[in-house]
Symmetry: none
Subunit: 249 residues, 2 copies
């Protein structure tokens, strides 16, 4: 645990000691000195650093927890809460558009592509004939250096020849489909479940396998209601929050 340069509160000031502590810790978090997920020193240790009673530091921590900035579990310590990215899901959900709206440094990395015969459930959703092929794209998305999701997507191979190359070049679903003449597409259905990450997903998402992920199954269709993409995306639940927009259509 690196020492954090906290300053002893000024007791002559009018503002209460616990508020000064709250401000200092918040400052460290907001300035990026304390990043999301990082463990704070124990309440007792903080009390020593600030040279106050444990209760006084507790009061500050309570205020921060109330504001949703930190989170404490008995015996597990205090952690800075991962700031959640709001990930809107609506009729025209698009990751690159979402990330662009967030106005942060974001990216999309293609982990692999292949021409496969998809699992039954995928084939049904894409309305593929039995044994018909599909492009399979595995990717992960980043924002500010942190992995947000691990996605798999299937596209009908017959309709989109050499889609893998296009996707490698463009790095986005919307731009890829645009090159095939699909300027707009819509979300047909979205299913959300939660499960434990497990070793495989945890490795990609850089999180504990014992922590949950949000698994989103989705189907995008073109203007003629023809399925163009089946997606299965796992979001790191600590870092992403799904926001369902019901106004959009």
């Amino acid at each position: 645990m690196m020492a954090i340069p906290f300053q002893p509160p000024d007791r002559s000031r009018d503002v209460p000691v616990w508020r000064q502590i709250e401000q200092q810790v918040l400052q460290q978090i907001r300035s990026g000195q304390l990043r999301g997920g990082v463990r704070l020193p124990s309440a007792l240790e903080l009390a020593r650093q600030f040279n106050v009673n444990r209760h006084t530091v507790r009061r500050a921590l309570d205020a921060l927890e109330e504001r949703g900035v930190i989170h404490g579990d008995p015996a597990r310590g205090l952690r800075v809460r991962e700031e959640c990215y709001d990930y809107p899901i609506g009729r025209r959900t698009s990751f690159s558009r979402n990330m662009h709206n967030l106005n942060v440094s974001s990216g999309n990395k293609v982990l692999g592509t292949a021409l496969v015969t998809p699992p039954q459930r995928v084939a049904e959703s894409l309305a593929l004939a039995r044994g018909e092929g599909a492009w399979w794209i595995e990717s992960s998305a980043y924002a500010e250096g942190r992995v947000l999701d691990h996605g798999q997507a299937w596209f009908p191979a017959r309709r989109f020849p050499r889609l893998d190359e296009v996707f490698q070049r463009t790095g986005s679903v919307s731009r890829t489909l645009a090159e095939f003449g699909i300027t707009d597409y819509f979300r047909s259905y979205t299913r959300v479940t939660a499960r434990l990450a497990g070793p495989a997903t945890a490795g990609v998402l850089d999180q504990s396998p014992e922590l949950p992920v949000l698994e989103v199954e989705s189907l995008n269709v073109d203007g003629n209601n023809q399925p163009v993409q089946y997606g299965l995306t796992c979001f790191a639940a600590e870092r992403v929050q799904l926001v369902l927009s019901t106004s959009e259509r």
Copy 2:
């Protein structure tokens, strides 16, 4: 009974053999190879396929039964439990309407009511003045004998006098609001996150604290866009799947 391609567990790995078996069976179920209601091979047959002792297989099956994935009756064999309930979320989400659509034996149990000063986040969402009171209702919903969710809801107390009694009598949000003259209400926003259940939620949901829950934060407003209900609902992730309807409005 079709033969299922189970692989013998890897004894050199760090993860226990029974967990590997649990994972393989779960994988088959999740991937759709084993659908809801299908009968599993007998424990003895599974032991032969995995080349392990019958007790090892039983340990894995016990774990799966604990998670509610499979269900065993003496002398009737093991069956894969019916898949998750689809819980639609849209502009006019209503639990009782959802459950009615499922056409199953369902219910809503009021666990407690109180007049409280809500947490900051709730107060802001409900547009309450500082220190203004709200009715707090804690409830849980059932279907076919299984707990599906654990919900908390807050209602502005000033606007809804003695709402607790009405809710106790009607047992539903929509019917309660109807008695106050609100015949229709809309979903303002919905946020979905996942977290581990923890001991408290696990107790109500009758699931393991180490398994995830889907936490849905929602705000309902009336026709004049005035907030009428703030909700925080935890769904047992193994038993419920959220379906986001984007067409409705």
